[in-house]
């Protein structure tokens, strides 16, 4: 037994109670006035006749057979084949060159500006070191 369990047991025993004679008599008197109630018996579920189970089994089988027959007798409908179409005609023509020019233009300008900045910096460095 660990420390806490021992402590709890000891402390519970320190709670002093006494069932007084008066309480004892009171309980005895009250018990005499009570009559045990009849045990509550669970009501069994109603039994169904065997015929009920046969009838429901047959109904189930009949329904299953009906579904199988209906499914198998139905004609499979072929989906209508779509008319041949030219995919090329349907695809829109993209003006690739225009797009390229539009995208390449600003980049080229940026590249020229960067190259010019590098040349300017190079010149400045050369003049600073006296070359």
């Amino acid at each position: 037994m660990d420390k806490l369990s021992r402590q709890l047991r000891q402390d519970a025993e320190k709670i002093e109670v006494r069932v007084s004679d008066e309480l004892d008599h009171r309980i005895a008197a009250s018990l005499r006035s009570v009559t045990p109630e009849a045990e509550i018996v669970a009501v069994p579920k109603s039994q169904r006749p065997a015929l009920f189970w046969w009838a429901s089994s047959l109904t189930g089988i009949a329904a299953a057979v009906a579904v199988i027959v209906i499914v198998n007798t139905q004609q499979a409908v072929k989906p209508a084949a779509p008319a041949p179409t030219s995919i090329v005609a349907a695809v829109p023509i993209i003006d690739w060159e225009t797009e390229t020019a539009m995208l390449a233009g600003p980049l080229q300008q940026e590249l020229d500006a960067l190259q010019s900045d590098i040349k300017r910096a190079e010149r400045k460095v050369r003049s600073d070191i006296g070359l």
Partner: protein, 180 residues
């Protein structure tokens, strides 16, 4: 000298005397338990009387697979819950010490009693589980039956209760308080 089984049978047949013999050994423990749950000593006595009456009234529905004490405690817990005054529970340790039946029944001693702190720290159900385990030495299975809870709930909450009281016990030791 009749066995418990014979007393139960006689009580089920309607003998109040046999029932009185049957519960004689449990009265003291039940009253002590009820005292920790009720607002006054008189309430605890009333709860004990109600428990005995309910137990006798429904003795025929007692299932012998249960321990008789487990069944009695289950009824006692329900009766105590009916008598408990909610405001007193909410106030916890703010209640008047002179009217606290538990404090009145603890022997004159400077030492602390861990059950007073258990009542402050734990909720009613966890307190009951702790009491049944450590004061009444009930098994987890019986406690879960008495509280109408699952064994896993009981195990988890016993562990939580222990943890809370362990902290309290260690704090008390650090502060130089003495338990027991």
């Amino acid at each position: 000298m009749r066995t418990e089984r014979q007393r139960v049978s006689a009580a089920q047949a309607g003998s109040a005397d046999a029932f009185g013999e049957l519960v004689r050994d449990y009265r003291h423990g039940l009253l002590r338990f009820l005292l920790t749950r009720c607002a006054s000593y008189a309430d605890a006595e009333d709860a004990l009387q109600d428990t005995m009456m309910s137990a006798f009234r429904y003795i025929r529905s007692y299932d012998e697979r249960w321990r008789f004490s487990t069944w009695l405690y289950r009824i006692a817990i329900r009766n105590a819950a009916k008598l408990r005054v909610p405001e007193v529970v909410e106030l916890g340790d703010l209640r008047d010490e002179e009217s606290d039946p538990l404090l009145q029944c603890i022997a004159d001693s400077d030492a602390e009693n861990l059950w007073i702190n258990a009542r402050r720290l734990l909720n009613d159900e966890v307190f009951a589980a702790m009491w049944l385990r450590y004061a009444e030495d009930m098994s987890v299975k019986d406690i879960s039956r008495a509280l109408d809870r699952s064994p896993s709930w009981t195990k988890v909450n016993l562990l939580r209760g222990r943890k809370a009281l362990d902290v309290e016990l260690n704090n008390a030791v650090n502060q130089g308080k003495a338990y027991g």
